[in-house]
Symmetry: C2
Amino acid sequence: MTDNTNDDGIPTLADVARHANVSTATVSRCLNSPERVGKNTRERVMQAVQNLAYTPNFGAQALAARQTNTIAAVIPTMENAVFARGLQAFQEELVRHGKTLLLASSAYDADLEEQQVRTLVARGADGLLLIGYDRAPDIYAFLAKQKVPTVIAWSFNPEENRPAVGFNNRAAMTELAKQVIRHGHKHLACISAPTASNDRARERVAGIRDAKASVGLNPNDLLVIETPYGIESGERAFRQVLTDAPNTTAVMCVNDVLAVGALRAAKEMGIRVPDDISVTGFDDIEIATLAEPPLTTVHVPHREMGRRAADMLIQIQKSDLTVQNLELTTEIRLRQSLGPNRN
Amino acid sequence: MTDNTNDDGIPTLADVARHANVSTATVSRCLNSPERVGKNTRERVMQAVQNLAYTPNFGAQALAARQTNTIAAVIPTMENAVFARGLQAFQEELVRHGKTLLLASSAYDADLEEQQVRTLVARGADGLLLIGYDRAPDIYAFLAKQKVPTVIAWSFNPEENRPAVGFNNRAAMTELAKQVIRHGHKHLACISAPTASNDRARERVAGIRDAKASVGLNPNDLLVIETPYGIESGERAFRQVLTDAPNTTAVMCVNDVLAVGALRAAKEMGIRVPDDISVTGFDDIEIATLAEPPLTTVHVPHREMGRRAADMLIQIQKSDLTVQNLELTTEIRLRQSLGPNRN
DNA sequence: AGCCTAAATGTAAGCGCTTACATTTTTTTA
DNA sequence: TAAAAAAATGTAAGCGCTTACATTTAGGCT
């Protein structure tokens, strides 16, 4: 083979160059910084690109340019509407900036997450989105060594020295818990996701304790059931709560899905919500309003979070900016699942 | 620079080779086909890899090996639980085979989809997952020319000569519609997603017509409202139905989300479901059981579909297999939103 | 017209890896 | 024990692109 058409018949830069009668450098420039090429030449080259239906070879481009225009994200699971939403916005914003999304999920498993992070970086991700701060220090070390800009979403803590766009999980939950307490509830219980390597859940639980402490209740006197994500999981946990602490009058869940499970268990058990017991959630996803009764919860601006995270990543990448931080605000959504304590 | 450490301080294959005192070829073999390297050498090399924390350069690897181990998917949106679910399973299966997912969304827009397909292919995807058959022929031509194995999911049509894993949207809806008719309903209406470039929606609507025809009703006498995806969109459509065809006794929606919207509109209008009017969905996502009343719908094995699609793609890629096809079965889930016609 | 500057284009050296082929070492076989 | 076969390793040629630097061309000024 003397020309540069590879055996696949897939045209290369050199093919385009030959057809347009210019050098490969010119073709490359036409594609990457057209303003640096004369109008005539450019048109001729573009025509050749068209005719040959040329597409740059990704590997070659990545190798030579030292970047892939690809941004990665590792989330717990897309089946959680919360992440699906945030990620959708994240991806849309990425596209707007000519980046592509490389995606992996960890199933809330720290080891799997680490593995996925390494894989995605090995796949040439120019940047990385991670959920929450909690993870082994060596992952952060690895990321630093590989110089992969990383943004944390869903959590926000000014003391953590890393780019993040999130909200104060703890304060948000405190605020909600105060509302609950204001409704006359003293015997609270909490249904939480596993808190190991999940600072969001941990902070939310802590938020409830803060609220108790702030009104003089014993913060340590709080039943916390940890259970995996899922409606049925929430159902079981609710039953557990009533077994372990029958005098509970308000069950605060760290997310809407668990709360919907609690609601369902209550219905099955003939317990009226909110008359007999109040239930709250967190996130404000669609099922919160669909539930019977509608769920009192904390509204989180998921889409905005995703969008901003993308912006931040792109910013950092292009300008090597110093640590950025963005705190989003959440809002309590009072709905029927929370009522006054009647006991 | 005489050694091959690049300026970033990121180690290269050559660095590892030097440290282990072998050639780059041996290092490469250690990484890619360890069985072809002697035990001692291998251990020495692996040690060096460890010590240097070496990670292969993606671009270089892709360029030399002519594959990226990356599989792409273009879906309408992750915010639709149906796709989130299928995609989650798809991604998990990919990981199991050492592949990574490149993801983009089209927002149900044909042009955007085409653009995304081209982008992902340009990003070096070794394979592609697409939703439904409907798209411009030049996309298929492009894919064929670029030799990118492609699998269609969510639709299944033995006459289409392309690898697919899906189900018979039309037959499934026919079956459901027959059930509806069996409940005494004659005046049906349909709330559909836009059917242009969406064969799934189109087939489902056609399925209703088939059912009508099969019992001697006029298939063309069917009110169809097309509306975008979303609960509120479903609400509006439901009102429209009752305006356009007040004698409707059963509203069949092409997906659960629209159906939930219909349910909500009914509640707001003081129309009882199923006493005054019946409503059905399609997909059987979580909100179908959460809705009040629970939704009669068609259960689709989303996760299995995602998983199988991944398998198929991997199969095709490695063995250049001929067209494969996999039809999954759906199931009617009868729940309270469908009741006998009382009019 | 002649010189200087800027714009356009070309030349060619990598980027870091894989792999065909060549060479060396080890094992097997008669 | 020597020759043949197999296993291990090395050599070096790309893979297709970007880009620093060199060269040519086109304007702009005096």
